[in-house]
């Protein structure tokens, strides 16, 4: 698979369950080992220059994986610490993110006290604590209500307008259609489409859902 995401892009990475979306993300962030090929993040090789490459990335995983022993504010501060940022240099940013995500009043609580939507917001706040240039979101709106979804969309668009590159995987095609400028569609580990969203839809003359089904249905695929 050869995939290129432009700096500053809002990129949608779509595919059915088991197609390899999360595996691709894991390879980019270093949670999966590469058997072959290479990945470059803003010019840095993810294997040989992994330290530099990872500094640019913020990951919001699909599953909640917060440290059980830390308060909500400390979850952010310790995550920054793992990125090599001292606590005294990040406290202000942590408070700003908690404020931005509506979690300031919960800062001292255990994350288990949060609702599903609040946990989702905390996932995003944690991904942003190291001021990444590339934000990777693995199904960020899965299981959240309509109101929060709209709120997250607005927030992601704002981050993108501020210059952050966003790599989004989602099963909500209307979400991808609305947010993403470019799209890649993966099927069984192979990239079957990669082009600007508008061009893809115009070329096919169909909505994203129909295009997605056409490209990911069983049968020989036209590879990109």
């Amino acid at each position: 698979m050869s995939l290129r995401v432009r700096a500053g892009d809002f990129f949608g990475f779509l595919g059915p369950n088991g197609a390899g979306k999360t595996t691709t993300i894991n390879a980019v962030v270093g949670l999966a080992r590469l058997n072959a090929g290479s990945i470059r993040v803003f010019g840095y090789d993810s294997v040989t220059q992994w330290r530099e490459a990872r500094r640019f990335i913020g990951l919001a995983p699909q599953e909640y994986n917060f440290d059980r022993y830390l308060s909500i504010r400390d979850i952010l501060i310790y995550q920054a610490g793992y990125f090599g940022i001292r606590a005294r240099d990040v406290r202000e940013r942590a408070d700003m993110l908690l404020e931005r995500f509506g979690l300031a009043s919960k800062a001292k609580l255990d994350y288990l006290k949060l609702s599903g939507g609040q946990k989702r917001r905390l996932t995003l706040a944690r991904a942003l604590i190291n001021t990444p240039k590339l934000l990777i979101l693995d199904e960020p709106t899965a299981g959240v209500d309509v109101e929060l979804r709209l709120e997250l969309w607005e927030l992601l668009q704002q981050l993108n307008r501020e210059g952050m590159t966003i790599f989004l995987t989602t099963h909500y095609l209307e979400e991808a259609e609305m947010l993403c400028r470019d799209v890649g569609i993966i099927r069984a580990g192979k990239l079957v489409a990669q082009e600007p969203m508008r061009e893809l839809l115009e070329r096919k003359g169909k909505g994203l859902q129909e295009v997605f089904l056409e490209l990911t249905r069983s049968g020989p695929a036209e590879l990109v």
């Binding site: 962030v29 949670l31 080992r33 992994w50 599953e63 994986n65 022993y69 610490g81 990125f83 090599g84």
Partner: protein
């Protein structure tokens, strides 16, 4: 080198220990006080100890070592396993932290906890039987050496375990029995030769004997031998733990 990341992990381990203080700090204190009362005060007057020591004074270094070993292994094994099981180890794996930094972060947190417990028990020993270490360098040196050995072993088992039950295997079937027969309670001089022969294969025997020297300035084995064995085993276990982390054993797909 990401020193901030490593220090953050060490600090996190301390936070964890303090959050579960009733599981990890107070029990060793209470257990030690009970051992001192039952074995030292109640029965100690009837038990001989070598070098003209009272049995209570003989007992204290063995009890400290028992808790240092138990704490170092328990801290690392359960923390690493929990982080894997609950998946929050990903917080470190996606950060610019090397396998070395992660392993040393866990181990240093574990050693700090072992030092804290050892010092609390030392204070208890002073309060109850009026004994203190004579050689402070050796006192701290052996705790760090033994803490390193058992923390590294904890990392290995924390990475290998598939369920919490697996972590208890080493404690139940190796650490506890070997500490109890490793001269924590019984002076080696008084063991029958048939049993003493097996002690040379017991790493706890070397650890406790070397540590006791810091209190009594006397040991059964030459100090250099005990220190060499513990350091050698610590280097071996650390090497294995680091190798497992570097290849991403049960960490990276």
């Amino acid at each position: 080198m990401n020193y901030v990341g490593m220090f953050t992990l060490m600090k996190r381990e301390m936070v964890r220990s303090l959050k579960i203080i009733n599981q990890v700090i107070w029990p060793p204190m209470i257990t030690t006080a009970l051992y001192v009362f039952v074995f030292g005060v109640a029965l100690g007057s009837r038990v001989k100890a070598p070098h003209g020591l009272s049995y209570s004074v003989f007992l204290i270094p063995g009890l400290i070592m028992l808790q240092v070993i138990d704490s170092s292994y328990g801290e690392c094994s359960s923390s690493v396993f929990q982080a894997r099981f609950m998946n929050w180890i990903q917080e470190m794996l996606v950060a610019p932290m090397s396998a070395y930094e992660i392993v040393f972060g866990y181990i240093s947190g574990s050693i700090v906890r072992a030092l804290l417990i050892a010092c609390l028990i030392m204070g208890l020993g002073f309060a109850l039987v009026h004994t203190l270490p004579r050689d402070w360098l050796l006192y701290f040196g052996v705790i760090i050496d033994v803490g390193l050995l058992f923390s590294a072993l904890g990392v290995i088992f924390g990475l290998m375990a598939e369920k919490f039950d697996h972590l208890a295997v080493l404690t139940t079937f190796a650490i506890t029995p070997l500490v109890f027969v490793g001269s924590a309670f019984t002076p080696a001089q008084f063991l029958p030769p048939s049993i003493l022969r097996f002690e040379y294969f017991n790493p706890m025997f070397y650890a406790i004997d070397a540590f006791r020297y810091s209190y009594t300035s006397a040991s059964y084995l030459p100090l250099w031998l005990s220190l060499s064995v513990i350091t050698g085993l610590a280097a071996l276990c650390l090497g294995i733990a680091l190798s497992m982390a570097v290849v991403g054993y049960k960490l990276r797909a």
